[in-house]
Every structure is written in C-alpha cells, then in structure tokens.
Amino acid sequence: MSANLTPYVEAREKKGLWLSARFAILRRASQFVFLALFLSGPLFGLWIAKGTIASSMTLGILPLTDPFVMLQVLATRHWPEMLSLLGGLIVLAAYLLLGGRSFCAWVCPLNPVADFAAFLRRKLGITQTAKLRPEFRNWIAVAALVVSAATGVVAWELVNPITALHRALVFGLWFGLVPAAAVFLFDLLVAKHGWCGHLCPVGACYGAIGQVAVLRVSATARSACDDCMDCFAVCPEPHVIGPALRGERTGASPVILNRDCTLCGACIDVCPEAVFRFTTRFDHRLADGAAPGTRKQTPPTSVAEAA
C-alpha cells in the first residue's frame, strides 16, 4: 500500500506551481464550462445547452446523448428517434478520439465530488479501504442493461448518481444531491476511489470506448522515473500505470493502454521527473536519450501491490 500522503510537494519544488497543477486546473475549468453551458439558460436566460447530460441539444443544432443511456433504451427494445441515436454516435465518435474515460475526468459532474473525497482521504490520512475490483463496474453495467431489458424500464437512470446530480444542478431537483452525497461518503470512508474506480457502469461504458480510443497518456520518459510513487498515490486508477511505466524490462509500450485510464493528467502534474505526457495510442516513442535498460532495475511486483 502506498503510504505517500504528500504527493505534489516534490513536483511543486521542481517544476513550479503551474506545471504541477496544470491539468488539475484545466480539468476543473473543463468541468465548470460543461456545467455552465447548461446553467447559463436557467440562470441568465442565455440558452446554450438544453436538457441534461443524459441527452442535450446545443444551440438547437448539436444533439448529444450519453452512450450508456442509449444502450439502456436499446435494451428495453424501444427503437428511439434518430435525434438521440445521432447524439449517441456523435458522443461515441468524440470519445473514440478523446480517450473514452476522459468523460469521467473532464466532463462528469460527479468527478469533483469523488476527487474531493480522494483529496480528503489523503489529507486526513485515511488509508483503510474496502477491497473492490475495478472489473466489477463492467458487471454492474451488464446487470443494468439486463434489468432494463427484463423490466422495460431505463433502469440505471433511476439510481444513476451522475444524471441525478446533473438534474439537481440544472433543474433544481435537489433530492438528486443525495446519491452524490452517498458516493462522497462511500469514497471517503469505505473505499478509495470506490465509486468511479470500481462501481460506476457509466465509466465502464466509456472505458469500453477507451479500449480503442486514440488519445492516451504515455510514460515517455520512463527511464527518468525514480520510484517516488507519487503518480500511484494520486492516480484514480493506479493499476493502469504499472505496465507502461515499468515496461522497460518487459519491452512493453510506454503508452498507458489500459481502458480504465481517465486521462485526468494527475500523473503528468505530480511527476517531478516529467515522465508522462499526452500523446496518441500509436505513438510508442520514448524520450530522447532514454535507451531501454539504462535505468536501475526494480522488481515490478511492488508496483502491483501498491496498485
């Protein structure tokens, strides 16, 4: 278990404030913008995006539909209007380019809640965590689709904390804050990155897109890694880092190909040695002068345990 409770300190000293918080700031800005697009209408009468994150219409021309919501409708065997199908395809295409679970880190309104819980965990030194496996979310996704098919009700949307939170903020349905609060407490007290990292079927769906998505993070300068473990401490899906970062021995690509990566960029921010950067899935280059095998060999098992 990683006991590193003071990540970012070294990165700030070495790279300065901006480079050690760049993606955190950009992500909050992105999340704010996506929410503001929906809120400008009800608050100021300036209608940009109507609807909610489940399905929306931007400026009267751009329909967007959440792929997992779309799958649930198809599971109920209702054949939807083209408008939502088109919206689903547009979102699908966008995330095929932009990395699948980048939705989770850059758009999802629940992410700041989960991030805040993770932040508090670090600050309060809470290290105990229930053991869950990241794959469980795939099973929950399948279960939600099976229930939709069996009952003929778009089932996950009855409990989905993401859309409930978004409706709460955009439509003032304040009970929608309750599931988000439950996720916060669960992540803080029960399991580290419990909801987003293990249970959320929406993330599982975007993860499936991420399986083949183009945009990725790569441990390009992995030879500079000094095993400070900061990236493992801040990564919401720490199991994705190991194969790419410690791939020198196995000859694996430095690109983080695991679909669970949310492309949050926390590893880029936190790394004092600037090991990580954004690139495409096809870019397997290593940083200049980083010839494989020059780095001291570390058994990768300790990494796996930390994950």
Partner: protein, 277 residues
C-alpha cells in the same frame, strides 16, 4: 496481486505456501479456475445489485393519478422504456407546465409530468415538447395537438359541481379548448325545483385531450372535474361484447331471422276481450 486469488482457492492445505509449490495441489487449468471464481464473485454481486434495481424499476411504474404525462407520451409502460429523463421537453415548454419528477414527487425519477390543477397544458399548435423529445418517448407522429391524449376529464364530484346543483357555472365548459365536442352541456329536468333545468357538463372521451384547463379553472376549492390518465379514466370495451345494432349495420341487415311470429294463446274465459261469447 495474484496471491489472494490463489490462496482463496488452494485445496484446504493449512500450509498454503507449500500448497502452491506442490504441483499436485495446483489447479489443472488456473485460467479456467480464475474465470469461474470471477464469475461467482462478480456475477453474484452483479445479480444482487440487479435484483434490487429490478424491484426499483418495477416500483417506478406506480404513477399517481394526478400526475399527467406530456402530449404524445407513449402508454406508461412504453414511455418508461423510452424516456431518458433528459428534460428537453421541459425546457421547450413555453408555459412551464412540464416538470421533471424529483424523488417523492411520485412519477419515476426524472420523468416529465404535470399537475393540471397547478399549470394545465396550453395545447401549443406547434407541440414543441414533442419535437424536443430525442427518443420518441413523446411520439413524433403527434403533430395535431387536438389529437393529444394526456388524460381524460372526469366529473369526479357530482355532489359539489355547481351545474349539477342546478346553478349556471359553466366554467369548465367555457374554458375547454375543444368546447362543444370534449365537453357539452346536457339539459335535464331539475326535479328539486320541478320548474328549472340542470345543465350537466358531460365529457366526451373521444375528443378530450386531457389538457386540464377544466380542472384548473373549476371554481371550487377542490375541483369537481379532474383529468385522469387514460388507463384509469377510459375502460376498454370487452372484445366479446358486441352491440347488436352495430353488427346489424355492418352486415347490412339482421344477422338472425326475424323473431318467429307466434299465435296468441290465452285462456277462453268469459269477459275477456276477444273471448268467444
């Protein structure tokens, strides 16, 4: 990382470290064992979640009678298959009639509804709510708002309806957008006064769109006319029950022979008319 899985299924040997090194205790096919183990763990967990979710989904069908769906809404069962709770219909409703259901509002969480007594449907000619629906939960084939069936008005309180007391209120009739078709005033005799008329408002389900203007404008503290969902207010005619006169019209004549003409038989009693003297 691999350790817990193996330990969990080693063959009951108390010294597990030894068990792992001895070939005899290793599973013949570790991958299959792992797959079965995952199936049991994850499948079991997912099934438990699924059962709870299914119960919740079934329960979400219970909709209070006063919660009406927007124009063009599919029948409730299909509506819940199609509605993704996005709120686009609510956004495009110019009169703030439509609302999304919060918890404890009654209808399935996040689905659109309206209470006629609060804000009725103004029956926009352009039907913007239906056009906004991305999934067709509001049926896009509804282009004439007069064909909408949000519900059917019912005089739920004959005892308090002013017109039925013999007074002339007529408000529900006057405000009806489909006046003289959806609501008519039927004149009957006032048996209380014996010399006045009662103008009874009568709803004709065929023409009523369920907009709720009548319920909204009923002058009583509690409306005597209420719009109820179609499945509550309109009973289906039994398929086996045929109306003879309709069938006769369809067939172009009587379906059975005319009744047999029988002789008049009666006792021959003196004094009865027609009796032999």
């Amino acid at each position: 990382m691999l350790l817990p899985g193996r330990l969990g299924l080693s063959t009951g040997n108390p010294n597990k470290r030894d068990a792992m090194t001895r070939p005899v205790d290793r599973p013949a096919n570790p991958q299959r064992r792992k797959a079965l183990q995952d199936l049991a763990r994850f499948g079991g967990g997912a099934a438990a979640c699924g059962v709870m979710l299914a119960a919740f989904a079934e329960q979400s069908r219970a909709r209070p009678a006063e919660a009406l769906r927007p124009p063009g809404a599919l029948p409730e069962k299909e509506f819940l298959s199609a509605c993704i709770r996005c709120g686009l219909c609510v956004r495009d409703c110019p009169y703030n009639t439509l609302k999304l259901a919060d918890w404890a509002d009654g209808p399935a969480l996040g689905t659109p509804y309206f209470h006629a007594r609060a804000v009725p449907c103004e029956m926009c000619d352009t039907v913007p709510c239906v056009k906004a629906c991305p999934t067709g939960a509001l049926d896009h084939s509804l282009v004439d708002i007069n064909k909408a069936k949000m519900g059917v008005a019912v005089i739920t309180s004959r005892e308090t309806c002013l017109n039925l007391q013999g007074l002339r209120c007529d408000v529900c009739y006057r405000v009806c957008p489909v006046i003289d078709k959806a609501i008519t005033l039927e004149r009957t005799h006032n048996t209380r006064t014996t010399k006045h008329a009662i103008f009874e408002p009568v709803v004709h389900a065929e023409f009523c769109t369920g907009c709720g203007k009548c319920e909204k404008s009923c002058v009583l503290t509690e409306a005597a006319i209420k719009v109820l969902p179609v499945e509550i207010a309109v009973a289906k005619q039994d398929a086996h029950y045929r109306r003879g006169w309709v069938e006769k019209d369809k067939a172009g004549g009587a379906l059975i022979d005319a009744p047999v003409k029988l002789d008049i038989r009666r006792p021959d009693l003196p004094g009865l008319p027609g009796a032999p003297k």
